[in-house]
């Protein structure tokens, strides 16, 4: 196998220990389905053109500068050099500023992961850092200039190596507390929780990314085929939400508690009503029901 090319080479520094390291892209975005934008009138593709909003004339890339709007219609202009000058010179060093307990890592900050491996002779110091962090169950926070941008990275032990993930900045991550502030303080307990936990246990499995297939692409291919053949595809019905009153019943039915089982329990009256409905639904439970049932979509 050809040795992969490093995306970045530099040093990692913790305390007074320095070791040469290299970063390698760990993930890539795969292109899936892509459309082109077409001019309906001519059938030709369209392309983007940049024009002056007042004069309507095309503006070359060289003539485009960044402007920060300070008042309505007034801009502070920043030349590319000025923006570049705001980024400190790269010292090619991931200097560890702090270690944080892995349990405190807020994953929503994660941007892009890189494999971090020792470069040349850095093996020993690298191993010390890796095993030390692994043992202490901590990850490291470091800042450095990566690809001309100042980035904060989170470095953690990963098998024989390290993974350095670039992090989003504080102002880029919405607070989950604020996002969820409007939700009610509702804590589920008792039978509902037990039933839901039971359902979860019956659906326990593992995730295999390799086995996942993007069915959308196939569906679009089908649409294209239908279009060529002059057919149109049927529309899907919207799902119907469970009504709050039906929630317990839906949970019981989901948990696979048959009518007889429920009947033998104390809430017999409740179970009876659910049993009659459940029977009606059963035949269509596996194949998508033609007529919408009360709970299932």
């Amino acid at each position: 196998m050809v040795a992969p090319r490093a995306n970045w080479k530099g040093y990692i520094k913790f305390g007074e220990v320095t070791c040469p390291v290299a970063l390698y892209t760990a993930v890539s975005s795969s292109e899936r389905i892509s459309f082109n934008t077409i001019n309906r009138k001519t059938g030709n593709r369209v392309k983007r053109e940049f024009i002056d909003s007042e004069t309507g004339r095309p503006v070359n890339a060289d003539d485009q500068v960044k402007g920060y709007e300070v008042d309505d219609g007034r801009y502070v202009v920043l030349e590319p050099e000025e923006i570049a000058a705001a980024v400190p010179d790269s010292d090619k060093t991931l200097k560890i500023e702090a270690f944080i307990p892995c349990s405190q890592v807020d994953t929503t900050y994660f941007d892009k992961p890189y494999y971090l491996a020792p470069d040349k002779t850095g093996g020993e110091a690298f191993a010390l850092l890796r095993d030390g962090m692994s043992k202490a169950k901590v990850a490291a926070i470091a800042k450095t200039v990566l690809f001309r941008r100042m980035r904060t990275v989170l470095i953690r032990a990963h098998g024989k190596g390290l993974i350095a993930a670039t992090l989003n900045f504080d102002y880029e991550v919405r607070s989950s507390e604020e996002a969820f502030a409007g939700l009610p303080d509702l804590k589920i307990e008792g039978e509902m929780l037990e039933l839901a936990e039971h359902i979860i246990r019956t659906k326990k499995g593992s995730f295999d990314a390799g086995a996942f297939d993007d069915r959308y692409e196939a569906a679009v291919a089908e649409l294209v085929k239908a279009k060529i053949e002059g057919r149109s595809l049927p529309k899907k019905k919207a799902p119907i939400a469970s009504k709050p009153g039906d929630l317990l019943k839906a949970l019981r039915e989901s948990a696979g508690l048959s009518a007889s089982k429920s009947k033998s329990k104390r809430k017999a009256a409740n179970a009876n009503t659910s049993a009659s409905r459940q029977k009606a639904e059963k035949p269509s439970a596996k194949s998508k029901p033609a007529a919408p049932s009360r709970q299932a979509s």
Binding site: A3, P4, V27, S28, N36, I38, K41, V46, I51, D52, S53, T55, D63, K66, V70, Y75, V76, V77, L78, P88, E97, A98, I100, P101, D106, T108, P113, A117, A127, L128, L129, R130, D131, V138, H158, I163, N168, E172, V173, R174, S176, L183, D185, K187, L193, I199, I200, F207, G210, D214, Y216, E217, V220, E222, K236, A241, L247, L251, S254, Q295
Partner: protein, 270 residues
């Protein structure tokens, strides 16, 4: 929550279904945002679409998506037609599998979203699913169509809500074996280990979002503030300013232009 939901649909666990909404956890709104200007005129630059062959402007209503069939042959797909590509996962997050939270490695996490109930009617069902996952220390695995791609997604309870992560496709994460080779095989020196442990302990702190502050953005804000001040100075006719040279020509009306001129004059053209 003033933010408009990015997606609305349903969360489904077996026969339990509830209306939910989703918004991205990552936002650019607080970033120093620039517009593109034409350096010569200082006007905003706009983008528009032109026909690649005729060069004429194409109006938005004439733009249509094309699925490439041959070299210059496209099957045109109207938005309404694309909407008929309705997999169940377009509208419904049906949780098919649950797996222990720590069984999904961080490297698979792609983009986070916040998921919450969309209508009061669904709040209880939402909370049932959330609390049961929390109690079992499990995350849910499902499928969801986002931006015309079907993604594997992971649902993780968080506070009063649920964080939904899109997960990377199998072929998007590179095998690590090629990267962690001989050099990574080195064993840590056991005698040095206690020292490293001590160093780590000394440097261990609690997580704080200040650790991901952006010094460059702060600097840009300063630069902008300084330039803005320089812009305004002539308007206030303060003598002694020598920044007119560096100030961009942002004349918005004649009055401003006059004031600037007067200020420049009173400075006596240094």
């Amino acid at each position: 929550m003033a933010v408009r939901p990015y997606w609305k649909g349903y969360l489904k666990l077996s026969l339990v279904t509830c209306p939910v909404q989703m918004m991205p956890a990552i936002s650019e709104s607080e970033k120093v945002r620039f517009h593109t200007l034409n350096r010569e005129t200082q006007n905003r630059v706009e983008s528009r679409f032109v026909d690649a062959v005729t060069g004429k402007e194409v109006k938005e209503e004439d733009e249509v998506k094309g699925y490439q069939r041959g070299e210059d042959e496209y099957v045109l797909l109207e938005d309404e037609e694309l909407e008929t590509v309705a997999l169940d996962s377009t509208r419904t997050i049906d949780i098919s599998t649950f797996t222990p939270r720590n069984s999904i490695e961080w490297i698979w996490l792609d983009t986070p979203y916040y998921l919450s109930p969309n209508e009061p009617v669904g709040e209880e069902a939402f909370c049932v699913i959330r609390d049961a996952m929390e109690a079992q220390k499990m995350v849910g695995i499902s499928r969801l169509v986002i931006s015309r791609r079907e993604r594997a997604v992971m649902l993780e309870p968080r506070g009063k809500g649920i964080v939904l992560w899109t997960l990377r496709y199998g072929d998007e994460v590179r095998g690590e074996a090629a990267y962690f080779t001989a050099a990574s095989e080195v064993k840590a020196d056991s005698e040095m280990m206690p020292l490293v442990q001590r160093l780590i302990k000394k440097l261990t702190k609690d997580w704080n979002p200040k650790m991901v502050a952006d010094p460059v953005q702060e600097r840009l804000v300063d630069i902008i503030a300084a330039k803005k001040k320089a812009m305004k100075r002539p308007a206030k006719a303060k003598p002694g300013s020598s920044s007119s040279q560096a100030t961009p020509n942002n004349v918005i009306n004649i009055m401003d232009a006059l004031k600037k001129s007067v200020a420049a004059e009173s400075r006596g053209r240094k």
